[in-house]
Symmetry: D4
Subunit: 239 residues, 8 copies
């Protein structure tokens, strides 16, 4: 039997997605090995939950292993999104249209940024609409026309998490709610926001795990691939 870590290199063919690596519980050494493996397979590497310190350590380890000149281009750390990418994400594919990533407060910025970066890694452009929490409804209503043009809405919210409910009651597009682990007392850890989104009275709102910006992006990608006729093509090739 094989004790080595193994990559899911068929994911792009099977699902039309790169394999993102969850970096939180991995050492810099483990991350470096995975990134080299993806690189050798010609895949873009997207590593989430990477601190600036760990990113620096990875960069050094990569340079050690790749010798003179190091990685060219070097991996890029995105501090807001807390992610590493290598090489640079592809240019946006206009066929996807635009996704709106909407956020209740600037404390949700890390999660919103992870979602936008994950979209960018698949060629999907997005717009960020910040600080439109439901306690000041006029700010949200003022953005409504712009939001109407997005193909998919990703709504990030902590505290009571009512933003996706209000959006899904006003707009007909797919709305993906991302509960965010900001808050204190009953909202600590994002539980209140998660429950609020699941319990929503707005029809057709769907939800991903707390802080899972990456997951929301992949759900949006599945939708856009379907809308563009890509999903069936990818699907035809199967596992």
């Amino acid at each position: 039997m094989n004790e080595d870590a193994r990559l899911d290199l068929g994911r792009r063919q099977r699902l039309g997605m790169v394999e993102a690596v969850w970096g939180e519980h991995k050492s810099a050494e483990q991350i470096t090995a995975v990134m080299l493996g993806l690189h050798q397979a010609g895949e873009l590497a997207l590593v989430t939950r990477v601190s600036a310190e760990k990113a620096l350590a990875v960069e050094r380890l990569l340079a050690d292993q790749l010798g003179s000149g190091g990685a060219d281009p070097p991996p890029q750390h995105h501090p807001l999104a807390r992610c590493l990418t290598w090489p640079a994400p592809p240019p946006a594919d206009p066929a996807f249209g635009r996704v709106a990533v909407v956020s209740g407060g600037s404390s949700d910025l890390a999660v919103a940024s992870e979602a936008r970066l994950a979209l960018a890694c698949h060629g999907v452009a997005s717009d960020l609409v910040l600080d439109v929490g439901v306690a000041g409804l006029h700010r949200l209503l003022a953005e409504l026309e712009g939001l109407r043009r997005a193909r998919v809405l990703i709504a990030c919210a902590g505290m009571e998490g009512a933003l996706p409910t209000v959006l899904a009651g006003l707009l007909p597009q797919p709305v993906i709610g991302v509960p965010v682990a900001v808050g204190y007392g009953v909202s600590a850890g994002g539980q209140a926001a998660l429950m609020g989104m699941l319990a929503s009275c707005a029809p057709g709102l769907t939800v991903v795990n707390i802080d899972n910006g990456y997951g929301a992006a992949m759900a949006a990608l599945r939708i856009l691939q379907l809308a563009n006729g890509v999903a069936s093509a990818a699907g035809e090739q199967g596992p």
Copy 2:
């Protein structure tokens, strides 16, 4: 020591409130005894959580005990609010102004009705504004001018419980949120609504226990007594 049930007859003097009786876990015999005790003390009886069957049994027991003619007037059962009152609530005191009892859906009607009846028992008039849940925001916005005239807002909501948050972001009055135990899955039992109201990003929203329409009414009464200068008067007489 005294093994009898005893009434808190000083509550009106101390707090300006009648002593409501929580009827859920009490037998018709226990309720009848308490109602007679309050009657003899010249107090209005308000018994909450009483089914139509139990109310009928109480009415018969009262008739048995009071002899020919029975209770005059008879106790009144309010089926929507699931409460018994005896004798009739006093006329509304215009000095209190009006309270708005706002509700997300008609499934919240029992709780909203309990709140309105408890207000009426203290001479406070109220208006009911139904079906203004946040998934159809235009219905709420259409009522905004009317709501602006209420002195206190009691907002009842089940599911994700976002209604009080939206109200408290739009209007400056005291807003009291009442989570309602309607819903299924994560909103069963009112937990999601309770957490959503407590976690609310709207400043100055306060909350009572799930389904506690009576408690919300008493909180509104405390506020109105203060605003009318009644509270200090009552308070002066002390325990």
Copy 3:
């Protein structure tokens, strides 16, 4: 202020959806009134969580109110889905393609049927794929080619809820997980399935509330409207 129940008749224009009525906590009288209101507005009525007994009572009340001949056609009760519809759902619109409603065990049938009926009310055809739980993986693998042709997958599962995870790892389409409240011990009430779906390691799986077949259908409808270019059209008309 207006104390009457009010319908969200703009929902079709705003979101492209009929307003479904959650029947669980409503009396036959309340349901009848809502159905007549929708009928007069020319809307299809879809009432969820209605027992056979309550459906019969509604039918009688409708007949009473509509006079000779009663409702024509009469409302239809769907016992598996526990829903009432009136009049019949429209014929399926082939432009939507087909949705696959996949279920781990026949205990999930009520939820799967609610999802399929809600799709049908919007002209969306669906296929039911039963008994493909992950404890007998070969049954799922045998259906894979058929599932590949669906445009959206709705996966209903109780117990540990692993079915949507396995599906979303194999297929590129949008996958919506519906936790189902079957099971006992830690899976009672659907909590284990809900947590399992949210915690899923499959990229881009989204989730709705426990037993919310209707919500999953509406999420699928949002996706199909986008894919068909309907969403933007509906969206253009705004709230």
Copy 4:
């Protein structure tokens, strides 16, 4: 669409409140930017959950941006309340009367101080009554006459959180309970205190989120504005 953070500058007009900024998850840079924005709009800045270190960093950043002389007056950090204010709060408005902030133990001091500072930022004077927990009831009874003169009571308590219940049973004023996250075992995180306050048998006690001293203050402000006839005035100007 607009990716910048935006302030809710209409909050004072709409609700009669300054916009408090929740500083916990924000960087010194983010806080500085918000404070400058409020300053330019002529608003008082109140930033909660700011450590002494972060406050110092903000002060330096402000000095850098404002040039010679820095902020004049400089922002003030309140170590007990863990808040920043800029410029100084206004003088107390005697029309508001006084609020009593009551606390079960000196471990609740941070939350009580946040409530008092938030009141002060709106011109409301308050008194602090410390160490009157229910395990030594005589200490509370000794303060009762003084408490009777307060217009609103804010009661902070950790552990079992019984203090607001006892107060609301003795006094007729509005009582706002603030559960405090001190304690260990079942009271860790403030859950036992929160549940105890919500479950209270005292009529008309309302509750805010754990540690939400600011929220309790804003609830008191809504009440005082109503009592003073300010609320309706503010409300007239609308959103």
Copy 5:
């Protein structure tokens, strides 16, 4: 191996207690068999959680098995305490002094009665002090002198469960708190009362399971046996 149910007949020698039988999940047949077994061993039978219907069935089964005349004396059903005893409890032993069973509201009567009956089965007299909840503190203070004479206090409370905390802050005796499963919302099932008692700031309050009146009585018995020098005697005889 032995498949029969077996009684713990050594419990009286080991612990000085009769073996109480928890009747809730047992059939009338199972209860009858256990009662006969205890009877033949010369032990008093105390069966808790027995409805009136089940008690009647047990009485009939006993009569069938014991033949002419049936059980003499017959088993006695205590409807408030929901218990069966057979034969009658012994007379009270004055050496134990008296236990006070204190209760917040008459909804706690079933649990208080179970505690008193379990004490009586061991020859311990008790007094019931009803309706002394903390929301009307004067009623409790009025009973204080009487309570001071009890040797042990058993305090039953639902809702927020603050009664034992207040008692244990005022009186030096052992205080045993019994959370009671009355209430709704967060206090449903007795969880809030349980947490409140465990989190209590009163020193030396101990707690038993929700609704466990029997357990509180046995804890009081252990204390009284120690105080009377019985415990060591019983203990000497060992298991």
Copy 6:
């Protein structure tokens, strides 16, 4: 009104206990002030949850305030029990007999030591019986004769918390269970041990909050005072 911290100096007269100070959330300055206050009142100071660092800081502050020679004798820090005492606890009073503090594993030592020190502060001697967890039952059975001589048993246990259940099934004395916050997974934070002790099938076991060694000691003290006839004496003097 009085904003100073105030001590409950009547506690010894009322309850026969010194007022212990919970040091966890208090600064060295706050602790020093309280200790000086108790000292001036002639009371022993017992401060729980004090780290070695904070204890050192308190000692320095005391020396600063008391001038030449500092505190004489100096306060003593007990590292295992994480407590400060000042002055030394009194000699043990043989009339109390001995308490056995029993512990499942050496990870429970801190809690067991807090209980023993709190007893010692009231003149009660205790014995520590370590490492007698139920997974190696022979170790417990070997100590049974010694345990039989204790007047009260305090049983500390983490993990599944079965030790007090087994003890209370074997021995007739009062048994007080203390759940301990050691363990991982489901036993993290002591929740499994707490639930196990509350759910115990052993009659008359009582429980205190997780890690509350002090509370268990005070419960034992209440029992010993009663057994020694001290409680009634103390009680006579009242609040």
Copy 7:
């Protein structure tokens, strides 16, 4: 795609097990159809969680479908185990040795019986050892020699669930804990027992879901097949 329910008829070949049917949420019609399907495939049918009423309905439906003479032999309902089997289980295979099913109290009998019946359906003999809860340890110790001869131990316990821990500390065989949903307060629903077993300090105890007697039996079967060399044989034939 195939909308019919489908059986996992390969389970015997793959796992050496019959496919048990969970009857709780299935109608008599659904159960009948599954039983006929298994019958036609030559498989034994084991349906769990079937009430006596539903069993009778199934028997009638089978008779209707099978015509004259009905099922021969008829299906058998096991009232204690709440299961249906058809045809009779095979005779016990002595090569498996014996499993001991141990139970803390007679309230656990339903779960213990389900485990024993599921074992019998696979030819495994078992012994039932009742009423050996840890509160009366001597009863358990008296059975120890008999238990030593069992090959696998299945320990069912409600309340605090300590029985499997004590067993696994005394005996070297595989021990499988089954939490049972009897109890009240914190042990209601079996949660305390489940947590106690998972948190156990006894090495190598494993656990199944609450009330899952069938699952414990299948875990024992896997072990016995391995011990008898059957597992590898079955495994060789693969899925």
Copy 8:
């Protein structure tokens, strides 16, 4: 009574296991004392949850106590498994065959390594199969033939924890699930994985506490001892 820590030296005779020491809450001094005690008794020491820093401190303390040359051989720290062993584990006993330790992702490596080391300490060889999570099912299917040769399967998984369910549906051997505390949001702390494994629809899967690699190994050892006829031999010697 004996206040010293005492070892369970009879565990090997009673259960065929060494006594593992849980190092998390123990100081280096406590660990050193236990290791010396085991060493003097001729037992292998296995200490779990030991950081590299603490291991170094233990090594130094051992050297101090053992004098010139220190421990020979020195204790060995296993960084992945976070364990100390002393002396080296014995060689693998081929009679046990091999255990497969299967893991969903490389974040589960610490727990899988603890399980493997605990097996090695008892002479059981194991194979590690990494990165076979259910989101990429083909990787698991590719390993199936190898897994078929293992005698027992230990399946470690975080996130939704579906891996053991899929394995137990495909293979007939005993399968022990170990939930792993990796993940975020609902899967933080391993709760979702634990619930998923307990709720599993795969027959005969058993579960241990979150992160309890040691416990899973001991469960496997119990099974292998039974299969090899060792258990009964050990069992015969009794406690």
